[in-house]
């Protein structure tokens, strides 16, 4: 006879309230300590009576020098505190590239092209299966050169794609922020798989006639997590240079990178990568604090390259016929999970509330000293963050992280919907996801966002932002014309 569900339910409900009570107690510990004091002081005062209080006040005999000195001391201590804090880094605004509908690649087009370019039936069937299960929708875009049969990956076409995606994003950003090109002090560009000379940063300096003393850096080859590496670099530069702003461009240029061979592990990127770009304006100026959307709290970088398996799991190489492609290994998910764990051990103490840290610490001690069979405690990151932007690397990555971090469907909705609408846009995907959350009107003042990027190397990078002002539902941006259709239900397998 099946057991009645109610006792279990009631015990789990009781557990839930116990947990809530514990969290409330530990996270507000100092407040709890002060409550007796706050009650006692008025009580004593009330019992003493007003005459006694006045007598006490007059007996203090404060003269002018003492008062002035105390005020001076307070001001001095406050000044020391404020001066020695690191400069805050604000995200004033950002813009994502919205691909034109002429670049759309519905699955039928993709499969037809795959068949016409590559006659190998097994490869085409493999790509079909991948695409059906990929979580990509019908509106993802590839650059014009990739629409040719066969694709036309010249350097000129790659530069044209770079100009299209980057300049559109920058123009949007200038319009939104009113930023003048001559006022940009720092420029950081990251694009992994296309690195011409002169660099893309020089291309931007040329187009917008930026100043000659600009500090520009062009990062390349650093994978899908390079967007957060650029943010880290920009943050370091903004710590050093006062009253400055930084333009960060994150993109991936698809044109030179379509794989024309038959090795399965190398066919996956063809199915997942799509075009995209993001332009982000960071600043450390006080006057930008008023109009900034977010403040950067932490950036944590983890590099697992020392482990050979991790290093080789996303690897550019030539197949047996000499075609160059990026091979994704079968243990990519496991490695991503391990990289995330390493990243969490560093970021956890910085962001988790005291209740979670204490529990984690106690279980750790318990496992080491009492019984090593205890299950390791997975901290509840939902207490630390309201929103999660997980790199839309692929459906499996999002599933894996949702499982590891015990997130609900709503938390990973931004990632899944970005993958559906835009595909894997590499380093810029985190910004499309943030834009989704804002477009849904979910971003409120005080909310904290955790952006997690994974990339070749193998790296796991995190950034934590705090929202400074409630973001009104966006009227423009990449989601403006389709946000009302989202979220959509994405079946496990999509049969055309």
């Amino acid at each position: 006879m099946p057991r009645a569900p109610f006792p279990e339910l009631s015990s789990s409900v009781r557990l839930k309230y116990v947990k809530l009570g514990y969290q409330c107690l530990v996270n507000n510990f100092v407040a709890f300590l002060l409550i007796p004091v706050m009650i006692a002081v008025p009580l004593v005062l009330v019992r003493r009576g007003p005459d006694e209080i006045m007598a006490l006040w007059h007996s203090l005999q404060l003269d002018l020098t003492q008062v002035l000195f105390s005020v001076f001391l307070l001001v001095f201590v406050a000044a020391v505190y404020f001066v020695s804090r690191p400069r805050p880094v604000y995200l004033v605004d950002y813009a994502c590239f919205k691909p034109p509908t002429t670049c759309r690649v519905p699955s039928a087009t993709f499969m037809e092209h795959a068949w016409l370019i590559n006659w190998d039936e097994k490869s085409v069937q493999f790509q079909t299966r991948i695409l059906e299960r990929s979580g990509l929708g019908e509106e993802t875009c590839l650059p014009p050169a990739s629409h040719y049969i066969p694709p036309n990956p010249t350097m000129e076409a790659a530069r044209a794609e770079a100009q299209l995606v980057i300049f559109s994003a920058i123009d949007d950003l200038f319009k939104k922020t009113g930023l003048r090109p001559k006022n940009i002090d720092i420029l950081v560009v990251n694009c992994s798989l296309f690195s011409p000379t002169p660099s893309l940063s020089s291309m931007i300096i040329n187009k917008y006639e930026l100043r000659s003393n600009i500090r520009s850096f062009n990062l390349s080859g650093m994978g899908c997590s390079a967007g957060l590496i650029s943010i880290d670099l920009a943050r370091d530069l903004l710590q050093v240079h006062p009253r400055s702003n930084a333009l960060v461009i994150s993109t991936e240029i698809i044109t030179p990178n379509s794989y024309t061979g038959n090795q399965r592990s190398m066919l996956l990127p063809n199915c997942l990568f799509r075009m995209g770009a993001a332009a982000i304006l960071l600043s450390n100026r006080r006057r930008d604090a008023r109009r900034a959307k977010y403040r950067l709290l932490h950036v944590v970088r983890t590099h697992k390259g020392a482990d050979d398996r991790a290093y080789r799991c996303v690897y550019q190489e030539e197949d047996a016929e000499g075609h160059t492609g990026i091979s994704l290994s079968k243990n990519l998910m496991a490695i991503a999970g391990e990289a995330l764990k390493s990243n969490i051990t560093t970021i956890g103490p910085l962001v988790l509330p005291m209740s979670e840290q204490l529990l984690f610490f106690l279980t750790l001690v318990g496992r080491k000293l009492i019984n090593h069979k205890w299950k390791p405690y997975v901290p509840d990151f939902k207490l630390a963050f309201e929103h999660f932007c997980i790199h839309a690397g692929g459906r499996a990555v999002i599933d894996e992280l949702q499982n590891n971090l015990q997130l609900t469907a709503e938390h990973v909705e931004a990632s899944r919907m970005t993958l559906h609408r835009f595909g894997n846009t590499s380093s810029s995907s985190l910004w499309y996801e943030l834009s989704y959350i804002e477009s849904k009107g979910r971003m409120r003042r005080g909310h904290r966002v955790w952006q997690i990027g994974f990339g070749s190397g193998f790296k796991c990078n995190s950034a934590v932002w705090k929202c400074l002002r409630t973001v009104e539902t966006l009227v423009d941006g990449p989601w403006a014309d389709c946000i009302n259709r989202y979220p959509v239900d994405i079946p496990d397998v999509v049969k055309p």
Partner: protein, 454 residues
Amino acid sequence: MELLWMIATVLFLYSSLSFLWKAFDCRRNQNCYLLDYVCYKPSDDRKLSTELCSDVIKRNKRLSMPDYKFLLKVVVNSGISEETYGPRSIIEGREESPTLDDCDDEVDDCMHSTLDELFHRTGISPGDVDVLVVNISMFAPAPSLTSRIVNRYKMREDVKTFNLSGMGCSASPIAIDLVNNVFETRKRTLAVVITSESIAPNWYCGTDKSMMLGNCLFRSGGCSFMLTNDPSLKHRAKMRLKCLVRAHSGANDDAYSCAMQNEDTDGRVGFHLSKSLPKVAVRAFTENLQALAPKVLPVGELALYVIRGLRHRLRRSKETKAYAGTAVRVNFKSGVEHFCLHTGGAAVIDAVGSALGLNKYDVEPARMTLHRWGNTSASSLWYVLGYMEAKKRLRRKDRVLMLSFGAGFKCNSCLWEVLRDLEDGGAWEDSIQAYPPQSLVNPFMDKFGWVNEA
């Protein structure tokens, strides 16, 4: 009341002392020290003699006789000797179709040999490295070259890596700028920078003359160097960074397109060097010097410059004919003892030397580096520094100016102060005795000298 006073005084003393300590500590950690550097010396089987160059050029069946003569002329008159190095894929005849393995092997050979020696000489283990920067302009595989190094040397998980690419021949000061900025945000940090160029995947196989120059001038080379802001390592450091100036003239279209990787009319990718390059270089150079001069020159020299400038202007307005076209020169030698000039080519070195008012002794390190190593792109500055050190020119308190140009168009410079007398031979160890040679003329002038007359 007394107690309150005491508490207030203690608090005041504590906060003022901690404020002063923080300010002092900040300044202490703001210095960027060069602990050591190792220049890459490829194996002798990779030497590219003029004869071998001629064979490689002849292999390109698309070239006509005038093209062949033009190229040979460039090689013979380049000021480059028989001792420079090329990538294995070109020497073994695979210059038209290098594989990804060829490219990987070329950079691995450079990075691994220089890093092994650097770690050995400094006695510092790879696990202690906090920041890693690689700058190789024309090769950026995935995973990045920084990840390649992290994997080989098993570096820590929290190492900050930056892979700069596409930034041209002047990327060395850019990498130093990046590290210097990171140093100012963290204490006791150790950084390793690798600077090199990838020749193997970039050999031009077409017939466009402007793109063939690169083939003639670029050679294999590289350098790994270690920087730190840890004051406790100061006694082991060779130099200290005093200032760094970057000038980017990319806003101008000529400047942006004068050195550019492009496809020719047949669709072959090559590195185009335009005829306006010298003019562009001069403009970028001037901009850089305008920002550099106040930081580098003593006040006396700056004052003299202002006075000379005024006098010149007055005279020019009175006697136009005599002074038209002349300019007032600044004497950089009043603030700098040694000049590391980018070895872009003999013409570049001569032009820069003349603009700075340098004599034969001052430009000798750059000319000799061009002769011995060719144009090794971003790492050339370090070979020039190596020459000065091998010749025992670098004495304590001397100031060294590194000046380089690169695609974009950029002119970057940095000034170092030598902290102790330096005497390492480095990559020049076995050849320094032969320098400077009696003549820089290519010994194959007899065999191929006819190209100059034809």
